[in-house]
Protein backbone atom coordinates (compact mmCIF):
# COMPACT_ATOMS: atom_id res chain seq x y z
CA UNK A 1 0.00 0.00 0.00
CA UNK A 2 2.84 2.33 0.88
CA UNK A 3 4.37 1.77 -2.53
CA UNK A 4 1.10 2.71 -4.21
CA UNK A 5 1.02 5.99 -2.23
CA UNK A 6 4.59 6.78 -3.24
CA UNK A 7 3.93 6.06 -6.91
CA UNK A 8 0.69 8.05 -6.84
CA UNK A 9 2.15 11.21 -5.30
CA UNK A 10 5.24 11.14 -7.50
CA UNK A 11 3.18 10.55 -10.66
CA UNK A 12 0.87 13.41 -9.75
CA UNK A 13 3.90 15.66 -9.29
CA UNK A 14 5.05 14.90 -12.83
CA UNK A 15 1.61 15.40 -14.31
CA UNK A 16 1.01 18.65 -12.46
CA UNK A 17 4.31 20.00 -13.73
CA UNK A 18 3.17 19.07 -17.23
CA UNK A 19 -0.37 20.35 -17.42
CA UNK A 20 0.45 23.56 -15.61
CA UNK A 21 2.71 24.62 -18.44
CA UNK A 22 0.43 24.81 -21.49
CA UNK A 23 3.38 26.05 -23.51
CA UNK A 24 5.08 22.68 -23.07
CA UNK A 25 1.95 20.85 -24.14
CA UNK A 26 1.59 22.94 -27.30
CA UNK A 27 5.29 22.76 -28.06
CA UNK A 28 5.46 18.96 -27.93
CA UNK A 29 2.56 18.81 -30.37
CA UNK A 30 4.00 21.31 -32.84
CA UNK A 31 6.66 19.04 -34.24
CA UNK A 32 4.47 16.03 -35.05
CA UNK A 33 1.84 18.37 -36.51
CA UNK A 34 4.48 19.97 -38.74
CA UNK A 35 5.72 16.60 -39.95
CA UNK A 36 2.16 15.45 -40.51
CA UNK A 37 1.17 18.61 -42.34
CA UNK A 38 4.33 19.10 -44.40
CA UNK A 39 5.03 15.49 -45.28
CA UNK A 40 1.45 14.38 -45.42
CA UNK A 41 0.28 17.14 -47.74
CA UNK A 42 3.45 17.75 -49.78
CA UNK A 43 4.84 14.25 -50.30
CA UNK A 44 1.54 12.78 -51.26
CA UNK A 45 2.96 9.30 -52.03
CA UNK A 46 -0.41 7.78 -52.87
CA UNK A 47 -1.20 10.75 -55.12
CA UNK A 48 1.60 9.76 -57.55
CA UNK A 49 -0.57 6.87 -58.68
CA UNK A 50 -3.65 8.92 -59.44
CA UNK A 51 -4.31 9.66 -63.11
CA UNK A 52 -5.58 13.15 -63.98
CA UNK A 53 -9.13 13.18 -65.35
CA UNK A 54 -8.23 14.75 -68.73
CA UNK A 55 -5.93 11.79 -69.44
CA UNK A 56 -8.53 9.31 -68.20
CA UNK A 57 -11.08 10.82 -70.60
CA UNK A 58 -8.81 10.14 -73.60
CA UNK A 59 -8.29 6.48 -72.73
CA UNK A 60 -10.60 3.62 -73.69
CA UNK A 61 -12.55 2.25 -70.67
CA UNK A 62 -10.77 -1.13 -70.85
CA UNK A 63 -7.34 0.50 -70.59
CA UNK A 64 -8.54 2.68 -67.73
CA UNK A 65 -9.64 -0.28 -65.67
CA UNK A 66 -6.43 -2.13 -66.46
CA UNK A 67 -4.29 0.80 -65.35
CA UNK A 68 -6.46 1.20 -62.28
CA UNK A 69 -6.03 -2.43 -61.25
CA UNK A 70 -2.23 -2.21 -61.69
CA UNK A 71 -2.05 0.99 -59.63
CA UNK A 72 -4.36 -0.45 -56.99
CA UNK A 73 -2.25 -3.56 -56.61
CA UNK A 74 0.84 -1.37 -56.15
CA UNK A 75 -0.97 0.73 -53.54
CA UNK A 76 -2.22 -2.38 -51.77
CA UNK A 77 1.29 -3.81 -51.72
CA UNK A 78 2.78 -0.71 -50.13
CA UNK A 79 -0.04 0.66 -48.03
CA UNK A 80 -2.23 -2.37 -47.29
CA UNK A 81 -5.31 -0.97 -49.01
CA UNK A 82 -5.78 0.78 -52.33
CA UNK A 83 -8.16 3.47 -51.13
CA UNK A 84 -5.85 4.87 -48.45
CA UNK A 85 -4.71 8.46 -48.75
CA UNK A 86 -1.22 9.36 -47.67
CA UNK A 87 -2.29 12.00 -45.17
CA UNK A 88 -4.29 9.47 -43.12
CA UNK A 89 -1.40 7.04 -43.42
CA UNK A 90 1.20 9.46 -42.06
CA UNK A 91 -1.01 10.96 -39.36
CA UNK A 92 -1.42 7.54 -37.74
CA UNK A 93 2.35 7.10 -37.99
CA UNK A 94 2.78 10.41 -36.19
CA UNK A 95 0.92 9.11 -33.13
CA UNK A 96 3.84 6.82 -32.36
CA UNK A 97 6.29 9.64 -33.15
CA UNK A 98 4.58 11.86 -30.54
CA UNK A 99 5.01 9.01 -28.09
CA UNK A 100 8.66 8.74 -29.16
CA UNK A 101 9.46 12.45 -28.66
CA UNK A 102 7.59 12.67 -25.36
CA UNK A 103 8.98 9.47 -23.89
CA UNK A 104 12.55 10.17 -24.89
CA UNK A 105 12.52 13.41 -22.93
CA UNK A 106 11.42 11.73 -19.70
CA UNK A 107 14.99 10.83 -18.72
CA UNK A 108 15.77 14.53 -18.67
CA UNK A 109 13.47 14.89 -15.67
CA UNK A 110 15.57 12.53 -13.60
CA UNK A 111 18.76 14.34 -14.61
CA UNK A 112 17.18 17.62 -13.46
CA UNK A 113 15.92 16.10 -10.22
CA UNK A 114 19.46 14.99 -9.53
CA UNK A 115 20.92 18.35 -10.32
CA UNK A 116 18.41 20.28 -8.23
CA UNK A 117 18.95 18.01 -5.24
CA UNK A 118 15.38 16.73 -5.38
CA UNK A 119 16.62 13.19 -6.04
CA UNK A 120 18.64 13.25 -2.81
CA UNK A 121 15.54 14.23 -0.91
CA UNK A 122 13.67 11.30 -2.47
CA UNK A 123 16.53 8.93 -1.64
CA UNK A 124 16.59 10.07 1.98
CA UNK A 125 12.92 9.11 2.28
CA UNK A 126 11.92 5.55 3.20
CA UNK A 127 10.57 4.74 -0.24
CA UNK A 128 11.03 1.85 -2.66
CA UNK A 129 13.69 3.03 -5.16
CA UNK A 130 11.62 1.67 -8.03
CA UNK A 131 8.84 4.16 -7.22
CA UNK A 132 11.01 6.95 -8.60
CA UNK A 133 11.25 5.17 -11.96
CA UNK A 134 7.75 3.75 -12.09
CA UNK A 135 6.16 7.14 -11.42
CA UNK A 136 8.13 8.78 -14.23
CA UNK A 137 7.15 6.00 -16.64
CA UNK A 138 3.49 6.19 -15.64
CA UNK A 139 3.38 9.96 -16.04
CA UNK A 140 5.02 9.63 -19.46
CA UNK A 141 2.45 7.05 -20.56
CA UNK A 142 -0.41 9.35 -19.57
CA UNK A 143 1.19 12.35 -21.28
CA UNK A 144 2.04 10.44 -24.46
CA UNK A 145 -1.41 8.93 -24.87
CA UNK A 146 -3.19 12.23 -24.20
CA UNK A 147 -0.95 14.01 -26.70
CA UNK A 148 -1.42 11.27 -29.27
CA UNK A 149 -5.21 11.56 -28.84
CA UNK A 150 -5.04 15.32 -29.36
CA UNK A 151 -2.98 14.75 -32.49
CA UNK A 152 -5.53 12.23 -33.75
CA UNK A 153 -8.33 14.78 -33.33
CA UNK A 154 -6.24 17.37 -35.17
CA UNK A 155 -5.65 14.93 -38.01
CA UNK A 156 -9.38 14.25 -38.29
CA UNK A 157 -10.03 17.98 -38.39
CA UNK A 158 -7.46 18.34 -41.17
CA UNK A 159 -9.18 15.72 -43.30
CA UNK A 160 -7.78 12.34 -42.36
CA UNK A 161 -10.11 9.35 -42.93
CA UNK A 162 -9.79 6.22 -40.82
CA UNK A 163 -11.36 2.75 -40.96
CA UNK A 164 -11.22 1.58 -37.35
CA UNK A 165 -11.48 -2.12 -36.71
CA UNK A 166 -14.43 -1.91 -34.33
CA UNK A 167 -15.05 -2.50 -31.50
CA UNK A 168 -11.60 -3.43 -30.17
CA UNK A 169 -9.46 -1.54 -32.69
CA UNK A 170 -9.06 1.80 -30.88
CA UNK A 171 -8.39 0.02 -27.59
CA UNK A 172 -5.64 -2.09 -29.11
CA UNK A 173 -4.14 1.00 -30.75
CA UNK A 174 -4.04 2.83 -27.40
CA UNK A 175 -2.54 -0.25 -25.75
CA UNK A 176 0.20 -0.38 -28.41
CA UNK A 177 1.02 3.30 -27.80
CA UNK A 178 1.06 2.80 -24.02
CA UNK A 179 3.42 -0.16 -24.27
CA UNK A 180 5.68 1.78 -26.62
CA UNK A 181 5.72 4.69 -24.15
CA UNK A 182 6.65 2.33 -21.30
CA UNK A 183 9.57 0.91 -23.28
CA UNK A 184 10.90 4.22 -24.60
CA UNK A 185 10.62 6.09 -21.33
CA UNK A 186 12.27 3.24 -19.43
CA UNK A 187 15.09 3.43 -21.96
CA UNK A 188 15.33 7.20 -21.63
CA UNK A 189 15.32 7.04 -17.82
CA UNK A 190 17.96 4.29 -17.86
CA UNK A 191 20.15 6.59 -19.97
CA UNK A 192 19.33 9.50 -17.64
CA UNK A 193 20.39 7.43 -14.64
CA UNK A 194 23.72 6.60 -16.26
CA UNK A 195 24.53 9.94 -17.86
CA UNK A 196 23.88 12.16 -14.83
CA UNK A 197 23.89 15.50 -16.63
CA UNK A 198 20.86 16.72 -18.49
CA UNK A 199 22.99 18.24 -21.26
CA UNK A 200 24.44 14.90 -22.33
CA UNK A 201 21.02 13.33 -21.88
CA UNK A 202 19.51 15.89 -24.26
CA UNK A 203 22.32 15.32 -26.75
CA UNK A 204 21.77 11.56 -26.79
CA UNK A 205 18.02 11.91 -27.20
CA UNK A 206 18.33 14.44 -30.01
CA UNK A 207 20.74 12.09 -31.71
CA UNK A 208 18.29 9.19 -31.48
CA UNK A 209 14.92 10.85 -32.10
CA UNK A 210 15.15 11.69 -35.80
CA UNK A 211 16.95 8.51 -36.97
CA UNK A 212 14.39 6.45 -35.07
CA UNK A 213 11.61 8.34 -36.83
CA UNK A 214 13.07 8.15 -40.35
CA UNK A 215 14.23 4.55 -40.00
CA UNK A 216 10.70 3.38 -39.28
CA UNK A 217 7.48 2.98 -41.22
CA UNK A 218 6.01 6.14 -39.69
CA UNK A 219 6.52 8.27 -42.83
CA UNK A 220 6.64 5.69 -45.62
CA UNK A 221 6.19 1.93 -46.03
CA UNK A 222 9.20 -0.23 -45.18
CA UNK A 223 8.88 -1.96 -48.56
CA UNK A 224 9.88 1.32 -50.27
CA UNK A 225 13.23 1.31 -48.48
CA UNK A 226 16.55 -0.15 -49.65
CA UNK A 227 17.31 -3.51 -48.00
CA UNK A 228 19.85 -2.18 -45.47
CA UNK A 229 17.36 0.39 -44.22
CA UNK A 230 14.62 -2.25 -44.12
CA UNK A 231 16.78 -4.26 -41.72
CA UNK A 232 17.06 -1.25 -39.40
CA UNK A 233 13.37 -0.42 -39.70
CA UNK A 234 12.44 -3.99 -38.80
CA UNK A 235 14.62 -3.81 -35.68
CA UNK A 236 13.04 -0.49 -34.71
CA UNK A 237 10.28 -0.85 -32.11
CA UNK A 238 8.56 2.26 -33.51
CA UNK A 239 7.74 0.34 -36.71
CA UNK A 240 5.77 -2.27 -34.79
CA UNK A 241 3.76 0.24 -32.78
CA UNK A 242 3.02 2.22 -35.95
CA UNK A 243 1.93 -0.92 -37.77
CA UNK A 244 -0.28 -2.02 -34.87
CA UNK A 245 -2.01 1.38 -34.93
CA UNK A 246 -2.49 1.21 -38.73
CA UNK A 247 -3.79 -2.36 -38.58
CA UNK A 248 -6.42 -1.40 -36.04
CA UNK A 249 -7.37 2.10 -37.15
CA UNK A 250 -6.66 2.33 -40.88
CA UNK A 251 -6.96 -1.00 -42.64
CA UNK A 252 -10.45 -1.94 -41.45
CA UNK A 253 -11.39 -5.31 -42.93
CA UNK A 254 -7.98 -5.63 -44.64
CA UNK A 255 -6.29 -5.91 -41.23
CA UNK A 256 -4.25 -9.04 -40.63
CA UNK A 257 -4.65 -10.59 -37.17
CA UNK A 258 -1.41 -12.57 -37.34
CA UNK A 259 0.60 -9.44 -38.19
CA UNK A 260 -1.18 -7.49 -35.45
CA UNK A 261 -0.26 -10.15 -32.89
CA UNK A 262 3.37 -10.06 -34.07
CA UNK A 263 3.38 -6.25 -33.78
CA UNK A 264 2.03 -6.31 -30.25
CA UNK A 265 4.43 -9.05 -29.21
CA UNK A 266 7.42 -7.13 -30.61
CA UNK A 267 6.47 -3.87 -28.84
CA UNK A 268 5.80 -5.73 -25.59
CA UNK A 269 9.12 -7.55 -25.76
CA UNK A 270 10.95 -4.27 -26.29
CA UNK A 271 9.09 -2.62 -23.40
CA UNK A 272 9.67 -5.57 -21.07
CA UNK A 273 13.39 -5.54 -21.83
CA UNK A 274 13.88 -1.84 -21.12
CA UNK A 275 11.62 -1.85 -18.09
CA UNK A 276 13.82 -4.59 -16.66
CA UNK A 277 16.98 -2.61 -17.52
CA UNK A 278 15.52 0.60 -16.04
CA UNK A 279 14.44 -1.09 -12.82
CA UNK A 280 17.83 -2.78 -12.51
CA UNK A 281 19.68 0.49 -13.04
CA UNK A 282 17.41 2.23 -10.55
CA UNK A 283 18.40 -0.37 -8.00
CA UNK A 284 22.14 -0.10 -8.62
CA UNK A 285 22.61 3.55 -9.57
CA UNK A 286 20.32 4.98 -6.92
CA UNK A 287 21.92 2.84 -4.25
CA UNK A 288 25.04 4.92 -3.95
CA UNK A 289 28.41 3.46 -3.12
Amino acid sequence: MDVLTEVRVLTMRELKKWYRSPFLLVFTLVQPVLWMGLFGKAFNLTGFLRIPNEILDQLPPAATSQIASVFNSILTRFFGRADIDYFSYISLGMLSITVLFTSMSSGMGIAWDRRLGFLNKLLAAPIWRGSIIVSKVLATVVRSVLQASLLLLLALALGARFNPLLPLGPLIAVAALCILAVGLSSFSIAVGLRLKSWESQAAVMNLLNLPLMFASNALYPVSLMPPWLQTIALANPISYAVDAVRQTLLLGQAANTAILITDMAAVSLFAAFFTAVGTYLAGTTLKKT
Binding site: D2, T5, E6, R8, V9, L10, M12, R13, K16, K17, R20, S21, R114, R115, L116, G117, F118, N120, K121, L122, L123, A124, A125, P126, I127, K196, K288, T289
Partner: protein
Protein backbone atom coordinates in the same frame (compact mmCIF):
# COMPACT_ATOMS: atom_id res chain seq x y z
CA UNK B 1 20.48 6.69 23.80
CA UNK B 2 22.51 9.07 21.67
CA UNK B 3 20.83 10.66 18.66
CA UNK B 4 23.95 10.18 16.56
CA UNK B 5 26.94 8.04 17.35
CA UNK B 6 29.87 7.98 14.95
CA UNK B 7 33.06 6.04 15.42
CA UNK B 8 36.10 5.96 13.15
CA UNK B 9 34.10 6.99 10.12
CA UNK B 10 36.05 7.07 6.84
CA UNK B 11 34.86 7.90 3.34
CA UNK B 12 37.20 7.73 0.37
CA UNK B 13 36.46 8.87 -3.15
CA UNK B 14 39.32 7.30 -5.10
CA UNK B 15 42.50 8.93 -3.81
CA UNK B 16 40.68 11.58 -1.84
CA UNK B 17 39.83 10.98 1.81
CA UNK B 18 36.72 13.11 2.27
CA UNK B 19 36.02 11.98 5.82
CA UNK B 20 39.08 10.86 7.74
CA UNK B 21 38.52 8.77 10.86
CA UNK B 22 35.81 10.94 12.37
CA UNK B 23 34.22 10.17 15.75
CA UNK B 24 31.61 12.16 17.66
CA UNK B 25 28.24 11.84 19.38
CA UNK B 26 25.15 14.02 19.35
CA UNK B 27 22.85 13.99 22.36
CA UNK B 28 19.08 13.73 22.12
CA UNK B 29 17.54 17.21 21.76
CA UNK B 30 20.85 18.87 21.02
CA UNK B 31 21.59 21.37 18.25
CA UNK B 32 24.91 20.16 16.98
CA UNK B 33 26.97 21.99 14.37
CA UNK B 34 29.65 20.92 11.94
CA UNK B 35 31.79 23.95 11.20
CA UNK B 36 34.34 24.00 8.44
CA UNK B 37 35.27 25.45 5.06
CA UNK B 38 33.91 24.19 1.74
CA UNK B 39 35.23 20.74 0.96
CA UNK B 40 35.93 19.89 4.59
CA UNK B 41 33.71 16.79 4.42
CA UNK B 42 30.58 18.22 6.03
CA UNK B 43 28.10 17.24 3.33
CA UNK B 44 29.77 13.85 2.87
CA UNK B 45 29.19 13.18 6.58
CA UNK B 46 25.54 14.22 6.30
CA UNK B 47 25.11 12.01 3.24
CA UNK B 48 26.48 9.03 5.14
CA UNK B 49 24.29 9.72 8.18
CA UNK B 50 21.16 10.02 6.01
CA UNK B 51 22.03 6.80 4.12
CA UNK B 52 22.62 8.51 0.77
CA UNK B 53 26.14 7.12 0.54
CA UNK B 54 27.88 4.25 2.28
CA UNK B 55 30.90 4.77 4.49
CA UNK B 56 34.20 3.20 3.40
CA UNK B 57 34.79 2.07 6.97
CA UNK B 58 33.81 2.92 10.51
CA UNK B 59 30.48 2.83 12.29
CA UNK B 60 27.61 5.28 12.36
CA UNK B 61 24.42 4.91 14.36
CA UNK B 62 21.54 7.32 13.88
CA UNK B 63 18.59 7.12 16.28
CA UNK B 64 20.11 3.84 17.41
CA UNK B 65 20.12 2.26 13.94
CA UNK B 66 23.18 1.28 11.93
CA UNK B 67 23.27 3.39 8.74
CA UNK B 68 24.84 0.55 6.76
CA UNK B 69 22.65 -2.28 8.00
CA UNK B 70 19.29 -0.66 8.73
CA UNK B 71 19.03 2.18 6.21
CA UNK B 72 15.23 2.12 5.99
CA UNK B 73 14.90 2.46 9.79
CA UNK B 74 17.29 5.41 9.66
CA UNK B 75 15.35 7.03 6.80
CA UNK B 76 12.14 6.80 8.77
CA UNK B 77 13.79 8.45 11.79
CA UNK B 78 15.54 11.36 10.09
CA UNK B 79 14.60 14.38 8.01
CA UNK B 80 17.00 15.91 5.51
CA UNK B 81 17.08 19.48 4.25
CA UNK B 82 19.79 19.49 1.56
CA UNK B 83 21.82 22.60 0.85
CA UNK B 84 20.12 23.09 -2.50
CA UNK B 85 16.57 24.37 -2.43
CA UNK B 86 14.63 21.25 -3.34
CA UNK B 87 11.01 22.32 -3.26
CA UNK B 88 9.26 22.13 -6.62
CA UNK B 89 8.66 25.49 -8.30
CA UNK B 90 5.66 24.28 -10.30
CA UNK B 91 3.71 23.15 -7.25
CA UNK B 92 2.16 25.23 -4.50
CA UNK B 93 3.66 25.25 -1.02
CA UNK B 94 0.92 22.99 0.26
CA UNK B 95 1.28 20.59 -2.67
CA UNK B 96 5.00 20.31 -2.01
CA UNK B 97 4.24 19.30 1.56
CA UNK B 98 1.50 16.89 0.45
CA UNK B 99 4.04 15.25 -1.85
CA UNK B 100 6.50 14.96 1.00
CA UNK B 101 3.76 13.54 3.23
CA UNK B 102 3.03 10.88 0.62
CA UNK B 103 6.69 9.87 0.53
CA UNK B 104 6.52 9.24 4.27
CA UNK B 105 3.19 7.40 3.97
CA UNK B 106 1.10 9.76 6.08
CA UNK B 107 -2.65 9.29 5.80
CA UNK B 108 -4.57 12.12 4.21
CA UNK B 109 -5.93 13.24 7.58
CA UNK B 110 -2.54 13.14 9.30
CA UNK B 111 -1.01 14.98 6.38
CA UNK B 112 -3.57 17.79 6.44
CA UNK B 113 -3.20 18.32 10.15
CA UNK B 114 0.59 18.21 10.18
CA UNK B 115 0.88 20.45 7.13
CA UNK B 116 -1.34 23.11 8.69
CA UNK B 117 0.83 23.08 11.82
CA UNK B 118 4.10 23.17 9.92
CA UNK B 119 2.96 26.00 7.64
CA UNK B 120 2.11 27.93 10.78
CA UNK B 121 5.50 27.12 12.31
CA UNK B 122 7.47 28.42 9.34
CA UNK B 123 5.09 31.32 8.76
CA UNK B 124 3.85 30.32 5.31
CA UNK B 125 0.15 29.72 5.99
CA UNK B 126 -0.89 32.79 4.01
CA UNK B 127 0.94 31.82 0.83
CA UNK B 128 0.46 28.04 1.11
CA UNK B 129 -1.69 27.85 -2.02
CA UNK B 130 0.53 30.03 -4.19
CA UNK B 131 3.01 28.42 -6.50
CA UNK B 132 6.54 28.18 -5.13
CA UNK B 133 7.91 30.02 -8.16
CA UNK B 134 6.42 33.18 -6.62
CA UNK B 135 8.29 32.61 -3.33
CA UNK B 136 11.47 34.40 -2.28
CA UNK B 137 14.65 32.46 -1.49
CA UNK B 138 13.99 32.64 2.23
CA UNK B 139 10.40 31.41 1.85
CA UNK B 140 11.58 28.45 -0.22
CA UNK B 141 14.11 27.54 2.42
CA UNK B 142 11.45 27.73 5.10
CA UNK B 143 9.21 25.46 3.04
CA UNK B 144 12.14 23.06 2.71
CA UNK B 145 12.55 23.12 6.49
CA UNK B 146 8.86 22.31 6.91
CA UNK B 147 9.17 19.47 4.38
CA UNK B 148 12.04 18.00 6.38
CA UNK B 149 9.80 17.90 9.45
CA UNK B 150 6.72 16.36 7.83
CA UNK B 151 7.08 12.92 9.40
CA UNK B 152 8.11 14.29 12.81
CA UNK B 153 11.66 12.99 12.52
CA UNK B 154 13.69 12.45 15.66
CA UNK B 155 16.74 14.01 14.03
CA UNK B 156 16.73 16.75 11.44
CA UNK B 157 19.78 17.19 9.21
CA UNK B 158 20.31 20.70 7.87
CA UNK B 159 23.05 21.05 5.29
CA UNK B 160 24.19 24.70 5.08
CA UNK B 161 20.71 26.03 5.92
CA UNK B 162 21.47 29.65 5.04
CA UNK B 163 23.75 29.19 2.05
CA UNK B 164 23.21 31.94 -0.50
CA UNK B 165 20.67 33.89 1.56
CA UNK B 166 21.00 37.56 2.45
CA UNK B 167 21.76 38.72 5.98
CA UNK B 168 18.19 39.54 7.02
CA UNK B 169 16.86 36.25 5.65
CA UNK B 170 19.62 34.36 7.41
CA UNK B 171 18.60 35.87 10.74
CA UNK B 172 14.99 34.90 10.04
CA UNK B 173 15.97 31.31 9.19
CA UNK B 174 17.95 31.14 12.42
CA UNK B 175 14.93 32.12 14.45
CA UNK B 176 12.84 29.48 12.64
CA UNK B 177 15.46 26.84 13.37
CA UNK B 178 15.45 27.78 17.04
CA UNK B 179 11.67 27.75 17.05
CA UNK B 180 11.27 24.38 15.42
CA UNK B 181 13.78 22.98 17.86
CA UNK B 182 11.89 24.28 20.86
CA UNK B 183 8.41 23.58 19.48
CA UNK B 184 9.00 20.33 17.64
CA UNK B 185 11.60 19.12 20.13
CA UNK B 186 13.76 17.69 17.41
CA UNK B 187 17.49 16.98 17.54
CA UNK B 188 19.23 19.10 14.92
CA UNK B 189 22.47 18.27 13.17
CA UNK B 190 23.59 21.13 10.94
CA UNK B 191 26.61 22.08 8.89
CA UNK B 192 27.78 25.58 8.21
CA UNK B 193 30.80 27.53 7.16
CA UNK B 194 29.55 30.70 8.84
CA UNK B 195 31.11 31.34 12.26
CA UNK B 196 28.32 33.60 13.45
CA UNK B 197 25.76 30.97 12.51
CA UNK B 198 27.45 28.23 14.48
CA UNK B 199 27.86 30.63 17.39
CA UNK B 200 24.26 31.83 17.37
CA UNK B 201 22.58 28.44 16.99
CA UNK B 202 24.61 25.50 18.16
CA UNK B 203 24.80 23.94 21.60
CA UNK B 204 28.00 22.22 20.56
CA UNK B 205 30.28 22.58 17.58
CA UNK B 206 32.67 20.21 15.87
CA UNK B 207 35.39 22.01 13.96
CA UNK B 208 36.13 19.98 10.86
CA UNK B 209 38.90 20.61 8.36
CA UNK B 210 40.03 18.40 5.49
CA UNK B 211 37.97 15.50 6.71
CA UNK B 212 39.20 15.58 10.29
CA UNK B 213 37.58 16.82 13.48
CA UNK B 214 39.91 19.25 15.24
CA UNK B 215 37.79 20.08 18.27
CA UNK B 216 34.31 19.42 19.68
CA UNK B 217 32.86 21.60 22.43
CA UNK B 218 30.41 24.33 23.37
CA UNK B 219 31.12 27.57 21.50
CA UNK B 220 31.82 29.40 24.77
CA UNK B 221 34.32 26.75 25.90
CA UNK B 222 36.06 26.84 22.56
CA UNK B 223 36.41 30.57 22.86
CA UNK B 224 37.55 30.35 26.47
CA UNK B 225 40.19 27.84 25.47
CA UNK B 226 41.93 30.68 23.68
CA UNK B 227 42.84 32.11 27.11
CA UNK B 228 40.40 34.95 27.56
CA UNK B 229 39.38 38.35 26.21
CA UNK B 230 41.61 41.08 24.84
CA UNK B 231 41.55 44.72 25.93
CA UNK B 232 43.16 47.14 23.53
CA UNK B 233 44.33 50.41 25.01
CA UNK B 234 45.68 53.60 23.51
CA UNK B 235 46.97 56.36 25.80
CA UNK B 236 47.93 59.96 25.02
CA UNK B 237 51.52 59.76 26.17
CA UNK B 238 52.73 56.25 26.69
CA UNK B 239 55.62 55.04 28.73
CA UNK B 240 56.89 52.23 30.80
CA UNK B 241 54.56 53.12 33.64
CA UNK B 242 51.34 52.15 31.79
CA UNK B 243 52.44 48.54 31.44
CA UNK B 244 53.49 48.47 35.06
CA UNK B 245 50.16 49.88 36.21
CA UNK B 246 47.94 47.48 34.29
CA UNK B 247 50.04 44.41 34.99
CA UNK B 248 49.16 44.66 38.66
CA UNK B 249 45.40 44.57 38.09
CA UNK B 250 43.81 41.23 38.99
CA UNK B 251 42.64 39.22 35.98
CA UNK B 252 45.24 40.64 33.60
CA UNK B 253 47.40 37.82 32.33
CA UNK B 254 49.62 39.32 29.69
CA UNK B 255 50.50 42.75 28.38
CA UNK B 256 51.95 43.28 24.95
CA UNK B 257 52.68 46.47 23.03
CA UNK B 258 51.91 46.34 19.33
CA UNK B 259 52.43 49.53 17.29
CA UNK B 260 51.96 51.76 20.33
CA UNK B 261 48.80 49.85 21.21
CA UNK B 262 48.63 47.98 24.50
CA UNK B 263 47.09 44.52 24.13
CA UNK B 264 46.02 43.09 27.44
CA UNK B 265 44.95 39.45 27.64
CA UNK B 266 42.47 39.25 30.49
CA UNK B 267 40.38 36.52 32.04
CA UNK B 268 37.03 38.28 32.07
CA UNK B 269 37.08 41.39 29.94
CA UNK B 270 33.81 42.76 31.30
CA UNK B 271 35.12 42.65 34.88
CA UNK B 272 38.64 43.79 34.11
CA UNK B 273 37.66 46.80 32.01
CA UNK B 274 36.38 49.03 34.86
CA UNK B 275 39.38 48.13 37.00
CA UNK B 276 41.78 49.05 34.20
CA UNK B 277 40.12 52.39 33.57
CA UNK B 278 40.01 53.18 37.28
CA UNK B 279 43.73 52.37 37.79
CA UNK B 280 44.76 54.47 34.81
CA UNK B 281 42.71 57.47 35.91
CA UNK B 282 44.15 57.23 39.41
CA UNK B 283 47.68 57.34 37.98
CA UNK B 284 46.86 60.35 35.74
CA UNK B 285 47.22 58.43 32.50
CA UNK B 286 45.07 59.95 29.76
CA UNK B 287 43.21 57.24 27.89
CA UNK B 288 42.55 58.03 24.25
CA UNK B 289 40.79 54.83 23.27
CA UNK B 290 39.88 51.58 24.96
CA UNK B 291 38.30 48.53 23.38
CA UNK B 292 37.17 45.14 24.60
CA UNK B 293 37.42 42.20 22.21
CA UNK B 294 35.88 38.85 23.06
CA UNK B 295 37.34 36.08 20.93
CA UNK B 296 35.18 34.91 18.03
CA UNK B 297 34.96 31.46 16.58
CA UNK B 298 37.01 32.82 13.69
CA UNK B 299 39.96 32.96 16.04
CA UNK B 300 39.07 29.57 17.47
CA UNK B 301 39.12 28.12 13.98
CA UNK B 302 42.48 29.73 13.34
CA UNK B 303 43.79 28.32 16.59
CA UNK B 304 42.69 24.74 15.90
CA UNK B 305 43.35 24.42 12.19
CA UNK B 306 46.25 26.84 11.82
CA UNK B 307 44.44 28.73 9.10
CA UNK B 308 41.62 31.16 8.67
CA UNK B 309 38.22 29.85 7.70
CA UNK B 310 37.91 31.85 4.52
CA UNK B 311 41.42 31.63 3.20
CA UNK B 312 42.56 28.40 1.70
CA UNK B 313 45.97 27.61 3.08
CA UNK B 314 48.11 25.14 1.20
CA UNK B 315 48.12 25.18 -2.53
CA UNK B 316 45.18 26.62 -4.35
CA UNK B 317 45.21 23.63 -6.68
CA UNK B 318 44.90 21.19 -3.83
CA UNK B 319 41.82 22.76 -2.33
CA UNK B 320 40.27 23.24 -5.75
CA UNK B 321 40.86 19.62 -6.65
CA UNK B 322 39.41 18.51 -3.34
CA UNK B 323 36.24 20.47 -3.83
CA UNK B 324 35.91 19.32 -7.41
CA UNK B 325 36.22 15.64 -6.50
CA UNK B 326 33.71 16.03 -3.68
CA UNK B 327 31.22 17.80 -5.88
CA UNK B 328 31.43 15.11 -8.53
CA UNK B 329 31.09 12.37 -5.97
CA UNK B 330 28.10 14.14 -4.49
CA UNK B 331 26.40 14.31 -7.87
CA UNK B 332 26.29 10.50 -8.15
Amino acid sequence: MKAVEVEGLVKRFGQLVAVDNVSFTVEEGELFGFLGPNGAGKTTTINILTTLIRPTSGKAFVAGYDVSKQPSKVRQAVGLVPQEITVDDDLTGRENLMLQAGLYHLTHEQARKTIAELLELVGLSEVADKRVETYSGGMRKRLDLAAGLIHRPRILFLDEPTLGLDVATRAAIWSYIKRLRSEAGVTVFMTTHYMDEADALCDRIAIIDRGRIKAVDKPVNLKNSLGGDVVELEVVDGGRSVAEIVEKISGVKRVAVVDGLYRLTVERGDKALPLIVEALVRNDVKVQRIMLKTPTLDEVFLEYTGRKLREEAGSWEESFRRRHVLRRARAV
